[in-house]
């Protein structure tokens, strides 16, 4: 009995020493080496791909954000239609009560997790479709799926080229720009599939809005 207790203790001690030495290798040396290489070779990317406009950081090109002009009396944000709008964001970060829209809150990434048969999701999709259709004056059948669904991260930086093109008319009008100038701007900011087949075509909303702002400030001469 005494012997087996002693053997067990010896084994546990060996296990602990193994864990500690492997923690040094995998938990200290490894991340520090990777960080060192990353910071030396790709500092911009390793630190979050920040985008600047006129010398000021305006966000990360990888993270979506909202483009609002204040909030209504219920506390819901009012989209600023001068700018291109991102996908709906209904991520339910697990530390917030279910039902709170995270509104591109960078520290609460996550999805709605609503199922394909969920009646709340059906209603939300229909309401968003109606909003897009009325705001941008297009038939509901022309509204693409990404415009009425929320993304996985709740921080999707992109929209589909279809959703971006559909917004051009209204954006041009709000900014007093010719429609075809804005259409061209969207086209210039449309990225195809990587190597022609990976992923889906997309438009980065932040980069598009930065370019739009520059265009407006230069009086539409781009």
């Amino acid at each position: 009995m005494n012997n087996s207790v002693r053997n067990t203790a010896r084994l546990i001690a060996a296990g602990l020493r193994a864990l500690l030495v492997l923690t040094v290798v995998c938990g200290v040396v490894y991340p520090l080496v990777v960080t060192g290489v990353a910071q030396a070779a790709f500092p911009g990317k390793a630190n979050g791909s920040e985008v600047s406009s006129h010398g000021k950081v305006v966000g990360s090109s990888l993270l979506g954000q909202r483009y609002d002009k204040g909030k209504d009396k219920h506390g819901n944000p009012i989209p600023d239609l001068k700018f291109f709008q991102p996908r709906p964001s209904a991520g339910l970060g697990s530390n917030k009560t279910n039902g709170v829209n995270t509104q591109y809150d960078l520290q609460v990434s996550g999805a709605s997790n609503l199922g394909a048969t969920n009646t709340d999701l059906v209603k939300a999709v229909q309401e968003r479709k109606k909003w897009v259709s009325e705001t941008y004056d297009v038939p509901e059948s022309k509204v693409p799926a990404d415009a009425v669904t929320s993304s996985g991260s709740g921080l999707d930086p992109d929209i589909s080229p279809e959703y971006a093109q559909l917004q051009t008319g209204r954006v041009a009008k709000e900014n007093h720009l010719p429609a075809n100038t804005v259409e061209k701007l969207v086209k210039d900011h449309t990225d195809g599939r990587l190597l022609g087949f990976m992923g889906e075509p997309r438009v980065n909303v932040l980069e598009l809005n930065v370019a739009l702002k520059d265009l407006v400030q230069s009086g539409g001469r781009g």
Binding site: Q107, V143, M198
Partner: protein, 558 residues
């Protein structure tokens, strides 16, 4: 190019990349686990451990090593979370509550990475990099060690010796996982994944003002999370978060990392038992199931059944624009057919049948190709069942790889395949009669009277007991009931099977080989691969069909 064609091309490119890596990596791992030489750094590590890496262990000693190392791992990770509030670099996060700390410790040591916490809201630098990421390496290396021990059981005769656990653990970590992880992490950073220690800081916003955002050692953790089939994300959104998975290339690269070791281990197996064709038969079985499931998933996701997805026009709820439907479908199958559980799109919002495919993938026991190590040993146990069934049909004593499959071997294999169904169905049934447990379900307002809510609970225990870690995220699993029961399911679902696998390995290694005769079932032939696929599907189907009928099937057909 249509999205469907792009999806198919991505699948082809992925398959080609896996095929290219198969032989070199498989042969390399065979050499790693059979080399008599130790690297200098390994000798230093053995000296720290105080173990003689050249001693051979019989199965009980090997198992004691696995268990001792894992018990220490759970306790260490538990304590690290419990004292987080007092640690430096904790970013101001408080200590984790006892039930959640237990759940998370069990989860990462059991290679599950179920997360009842939200990364960016709970875990500081020390817990993430020195706690969670370390278990990502060593739990994977433990799984590989156990698989190699079983392979040695087949390869060796008239001995009980299965190798040395400490040597296998250290070699798997130092020679296989760390080198690939370093390269992979740098590739991810080059594509935009972040890697810094800037903590929580403000970042300016387009409309003015700034928002708080988390920095961290993300790329280094992301790569081992996929490579070790772990799955625990740095952020709550896991691999859907752009800082973890910035573009369509990294998405395919991460899927590649998930699958590369589990597939290549079949080559290692073939090498070590002295007949690579035996490895090809196992590879074919895994490959058929993987491709079949991926094709079905793409079909159901592109068809986007279900009223919400029909209204939207495509299955884009919970999916990222840069990945789209095709790439997300490939990822979700890879993650549920292995023990990974990382997600680039949210499984709860897939079509009902898509959710059923994810569930079924885990229910197969995650063997196609399965977790690192656990996939191979799980598949070899199934192969033993298959030769037993074939033996019954022709009335011969079954044998596999020159070893007799007798009463003892079949009993151990049967115990192995009974563990996870018992845990999954038992805990799911218990949750259905507990009011508090039912209150955690999100999707109770679904058509089909709550079948999606039932799927959430079934998914949680299937994911836990099979060491997957993905979730139908609507379920609020951070309650004492779920933290405790899922924690138990993860530990029992990981370590009880290992007990039976190692006992099986010991019993096989003691046998003397039986010579091949004209009556021997040729287990390297396509016929056997077909029989194995059938055995897997029938056993899983018989076990889980009633539960699947109540969940995804009821929802999909309503």
């Amino acid at each position: 190019m249509s999205p469907v064609l792009a999806g198919v091309l991505q699948l082809i490119a992925l398959t080609a990349a896996l095929a290219l890596a198969y032989r070199p990596l498989g042969d390399y791992m065979a050499a790693v686990y059979s080399s008599p030489k130790h690297l200098r750094i390994e000798k230093v590590i053995y000296r720290c451990i105080g173990a003689n890496a050249d001693t051979q262990m019989r199965w009980p000693a090997y198992l004691r090593g696995v268990l001792a190392f894992s018990v220490v791992g759970v306790l260490f990770l538990y304590l690290l979370q419990r004292v987080q509030g007092g640690l430096p670099l904790s970013l101001g996060f408080a200590s984790i509550s006892p039930d959640q700390a237990f759940n998370t410790a069990a989860s990462f040591v059991a290679n599950t990475n179920w997360q009842s916490y939200s990364g960016e809201q709970a875990m500081g630098h020390v817990v993430q990099t020195a706690g969670l990421a370390v278990q990502n390496f060593v739990s994977a290396a433990t799984g590989m060690a156990v698989a190699i021990a079983l392979v040695r059981g087949f390869a060796r005769s008239r001995t009980g010796d299965l190798g040395n656990f400490w040597a296998d653990l250290v070699r798997g970590t130092v020679r296989v996982l760390v080198p690939i992880a370093v390269i992979g992490a740098i590739v991810l950073v080059a594509c935009g994944a972040i890697q810094n220690f800037s903590g929580i800081h403000g970042v300016g916003q387009f409309m003015g003002g700034s928002q708080q955002t988390n920095g961290g050692a993300v790329a280094s953790q992301e790569v081992i999370k996929e490579l070790g089939t772990n799955g625990g994300g740095y952020f709550n959104a896991n691999s859907a978060h752009p800082f973890e998975n910035p573009n369509a290339f990294t998405n395919l690269f991460e899927i590649f990392l998930i699958l590369v070791i589990p597939f290549a281990l079949t080559r290692t197996f073939g090498k070590l038992v002295g007949n690579v064709k035996q490895g090809y038969a196992i590879l074919a079985t895994m490959g058929i199931i993987w491709l079949g499931f991926t094709a079905l998933m793409m079909w159901t996701e592109f068809a986007h059944g279900g009223p919400a997805l029909q209204a939207a026009g495509a299955a884009m709820e919970g999916k990222e624009t840069r990945f789209g439907v095709g790439s997300s479908a490939i990822f979700s199958v890879a993650t549920t057919l292995t023990s990974t559980g990382a997600v680039d799109s949210f499984h709860s919002s897939f079509t009902a049948f898509g959710g059923g495919i994810q569930l079924l993938g885990m229910m197969l026991g995650e063997i196609a190709p399965g977790g690192v190590g656990s996939g191979l040993y799980g598949m070899l146990v199934m192969a033993i069942i298959a030769v037993f069934l074939a033996g019954l049909m022709v009335g011969r004593t079954p044998e596999y790889l020159g070893k007799k499959i007798g009463t003892r071997e079949i009993k151990l294999a049967a115990c192995y395949i009974l563990i996870t169904p018992t845990l999954v169905l038992g805990f799911t049934a218990a949750s259905m009669v507990l009011p508090d447990a039912l209150g955690s379900m999100l999707n109770t307002k679904a058509l089909g009277a709550g079948s999606h809510g039932f799927s959430e609970v079934l998914y949680a225990f299937t994911s836990g007991a099979n060491n997957n870690g993905s979730a139908f995220g609507g379920l609020n699993a951070n309650t004492p009931w779920y933290n405790t029961t899922i924690g138990l399911a993860m530990l029992l679902g990981r370590f009880l099977p290992m007990v039976f696998v190692l006992a099986l390995a010991g019993s096989l290694a003691e046998q003397k080989p039986i010579p091949e005769t004209a009556g021997t079932l040729r287990t390297e032939k396509p016929l056997f691969a077909g029989l194995l696929v059938g055995t897997i599907l029938i056993i899983t189907g018989l076990t889980y069909f009633p539960a699947l009928a109540l969940g995804p099937l009821a929802e999909g057909l309503s």
